[in-house]
């Protein structure tokens, strides 16, 4: 069987789509250029996972959601963001349409911009232009080009110089239509600012084939700190490409906390460029694969700056006949003296048919650095099972405990209590 990978969307479509949303001319132009590139660029080539039969190009593009009051949000969504009092800074996008938004007055007064991306493109043109498709290039591959030509909306978060936000900024991207998710997130933290952004992706479409094509761009200016938490929970029908990219300037810090719990096939690329001297990143990922899904996770750090430090920690559990490839890549560039890179990937397989593969890769072009890696792939230890069961714990419960235990070292280090709790909940549901 061959999959038709030609895109059904042409210039007329993109023009019409962009005009109907009253997008500024520069954005329309960006989309059209991207569309042209999309025709010829190759697909991304995730190492050790064949995606040539995966559908990334045939999908229903648009759907709509309607603006609602907090009380009218679906229970699933409310559960994610907490009570109205807790959810003071939150954007909810339903089927590509912003449907709920709240931002505290005192946050606004500090010059913070938080809004959906299309509104930002109109109201803060210069800022959006400065950041959009810059960390992730349009011409990186076919999927980034398709993304740029067709992204529906997303979030734009801008934190001015020296502003330190204590309360997390939240977003929920919620889909209950069979249409695709084309979401774009920009987090730009200016020099010496600090912000925590937490997003949840949720979809309910189990059967109809659909596509998620997600790009996040994170910019941490000199001395800035960005904590980026994400819990992906897309249903089986979604084939997902998710590219989360960070750029850290001098002494900046980007911390990723990713819970990747999609039920469909997924290609995930999480890359951070440590541009400035003394910059730092830490990327923590937990994932559970189940059913017959196939996934490929790349956690990648480029050390460009001197004294830069990058840490990767990934723990994955594979159930049923799920299979996943975990590629950890630490690339220390020439000139990045005194930098440090460290990574750990651990995979626990629960069944005979489950497959997991951990590949730690260190690429070092500089002598004066330190780096290390650890990886393990294994099955549940029958003696641990015997021990737990010998105390009256059932086989299923013993497995559940071991899985929680296996993921705990990552979950417990997640930066936010809310992300932590959410992860535990999702894990609980997935291992049952």
């Amino acid at each position: 069987m061959s999959v038709d990978t030609s895109l059904r969307f042409d210039k007329d479509y993109v023009n019409g789509f962009s005009s109907s949303r009253q997008e500024p001319a520069w954005l329309q132009e960006l989309r059209l250029q991207a569309l042209e590139l999309a025709q010829n660029l190759p697909m991304p080539k995730p190492d050790k996972t064949k995606i040539d039969k995966w559908n990334f190009t045939d999908f229903k593009h648009e759907a709509t959601g309607n603006a609602v009051a907090f009380n009218e949000l679906p229970e699933d969504v409310k559960a994610l963001i907490g009570s109205e009092e807790d959810a003071k800074n939150v954007l909810v996008i339903h089927n590509g349409t912003p449907v709920y938004f709240a931002l505290e007055q005192e946050v606004k007064e500090q010059g913070v911009i938080y809004t959906d991306l299309l509104t930002a493109a109109k109201e803060h043109e210069d800022l959006v232009k400065k950041y959009i498709m810059k960390a992730v290039a349009t011409d990186e591959n076919r999927l980034t080009a398709i993304h740029a030509s067709l992204f529906l909306n997303g979030a734009f978060l801008y934190v001015p110089k020296n502003v330190e936000l204590s309360a997390p900024i939240q977003a929920v991207y919620y889909q209950d239509d069979e249409a695709a998710i084309f979401n774009h997130v920009i987090v730009a933290a200016e020099d010496n600012s600090s912000v925590t952004y937490v997003e949840n992706y949720l979809s309910t479409n189990d059967s109809a084939e659909s596509v998620a094509n997600i790009v996040s761009e994170v910019y941490a200016g000199a001395g800035a700190k960005v904590v980026y938490g994400a819990v992906d929970n897309l249903a089986k029908g979604m084939t997902t490409y998710v590219n989360r990219r960070g750029r850290a300037e001098k002494d900046a810090r980007i911390e990723w906390a990713l819970g990747q719990f999609n039920d469909g096939n997924t290609v995930s690329d999480n890359t951070t460029h440590l541009i400035g001297d003394g910059s730092f990143t830490d990327t923590k990922t937990v994932t559970i694969g189940r059913g017959d899904q196939k996934q490929n996770f790349v956690a990648q750090i480029f050390n460009h700056g001197k004294h830069s430090e990058g840490y990767i920690l990934t723990h994955g559990v594979m159930k049923d006949s799920a299979s996943s490839i975990f590629n950890g890549i630490t690339k220390i560039e020439h000139g990045a003296t005194k930098s440090h890179g460290e990574q750990t990937e651990r995979v626990l397989m629960l069944s005979e048919k489950a497959r997991g593969d951990a590949n730690p890769i260190l690429l070092i072009d500089e002598d004066d650095v330190t780096a290390g890696h650890a990886a393990s792939v294994g099955r549940i230890d029958p003696l641990q099972m015997f021990y737990l069961m010998s105390r009256g714990i059932s086989k299923a419960e013993a497995e559940r405990l071991i899985i929680h235990g296996f993921l705990a070292p990552v979950v417990s280090q997640m930066p936010l209590e809310s992300v932590k709790n959410r992860l535990v909940e999702v894990i609980e549901r997935k291992v049952r």
């Binding site: 029958p382 737990l388 105390r391 009256g392 714990i393 929680h404």
Partner: protein, 261 residues
């Protein structure tokens, strides 16, 4: 509660096709403490592991009933729920699960859904038992056996026994690696459990634990079966004279399994 009864008849156990237990008979009732003694390599630990249902050991023939029910037909967790407990010689370490969470799961596993132990009651019980065993309360929040010293693991096994209140406990070399103070603490835990509703099988090759827990019956195991039984005085004689006199009496040259008389 009725007094427990464990009855083992002509039990044979193999590991990787090698027979280790070669026809063993033993009966333990509530209120009784039995000790199985014997040199290394005579099949003592195999007996305890096989009774609990260790995946590596295969029972090839014989019969074991626990309170009249066929123990060998039960899954490992069912054996525990029926009231059997094994304090292991080498307890597993399980990362990421705290001792307290684990114990609560184990207690609740025995109870009906909706009748789970309340958190307050659990903590009260746990604190009390840990005090009794002179364990630092911090152990409740450490990952299960992870990084525990040998002695800490053994105390933790006894703590689990006290919390789970089994009807019959098998203590597999609970005394190995313990200093005298820890030994006394462990003995205190076992003695605390003593009642007509509780039976115990202590597996050891030293008499010293039996100075603190007086057994009702003492058995000597060699070549995969019980070769001699007696009262507490048998343990004392073994301590004083070693095992050679028994070997002589029975004409055994090499007491370990795999060697025939």
């Amino acid at each position: 509660m009725s007094a427990p009864n464990l009855k083992i008849e002509d039990l044979r156990v193999s590991i990787e096709d090698k027979e280790i237990i070669k026809g063993l008979d033993l009966e333990i009732n509530g209120g009784e403490i039995h000790a199985i003694m014997g040199p290394n390599g005579t099949g003592k630990s195999t007996l305890s592991a096989a009774l609990m249902g260790h995946p590596k050991y295969e029972v090839t023939s014989g019969k074991v009933t626990f309170n009249g029910e066929d123990l060998l037909e039960m899954e490992v967790d069912e054996r525990a729920k029926a009231g059997l407990f094994l304090a292991m010689q080498y307890p597993s370490e399980v990362s990421g699960i705290t001792n307290a969470d684990f114990l609560r799961s184990a207690i609740n596993a025995k109870r009906e859904e909706g009748d789970e132990i309340s958190l307050m009651k659990f903590i009260r019980e746990l604190d009390k038992k840990m005090d009794h065993l002179e364990m630092d309360n911090a152990f409740a929040h450490r990952y299960l056996n992870e990084g525990f010293s040998g002695g800490e693991k053994k105390r933790n096994e006894i703590l689990q026994m006290m919390m789970l209140e089994p009807k019959l406990a098998i203590l597999d070399e609970i005394d190995s690696g313990l200093d005298i103070d820890a030994l006394k603490v462990v003995a205190k835990g076992v003695n605390e459990m003593r009642s007509p509703d509780f039976g115990c099988l202590i597996i050891t090759h030293y008499q010293r634990l039996l100075n603190y827990i007086t057994p009702d019956k003492v058995h000597v195991m060699m070549q995969g079966r019980i070769v001699k039984s007696g009262g507490p005085e048998l343990a004392q004689r073994l301590e004083a004279e070693g095992y050679d006199w028994i070997k002589e009496e029975l004409g055994i040259k090499d007491e370990t399994v795999g060697q025939e008389a």
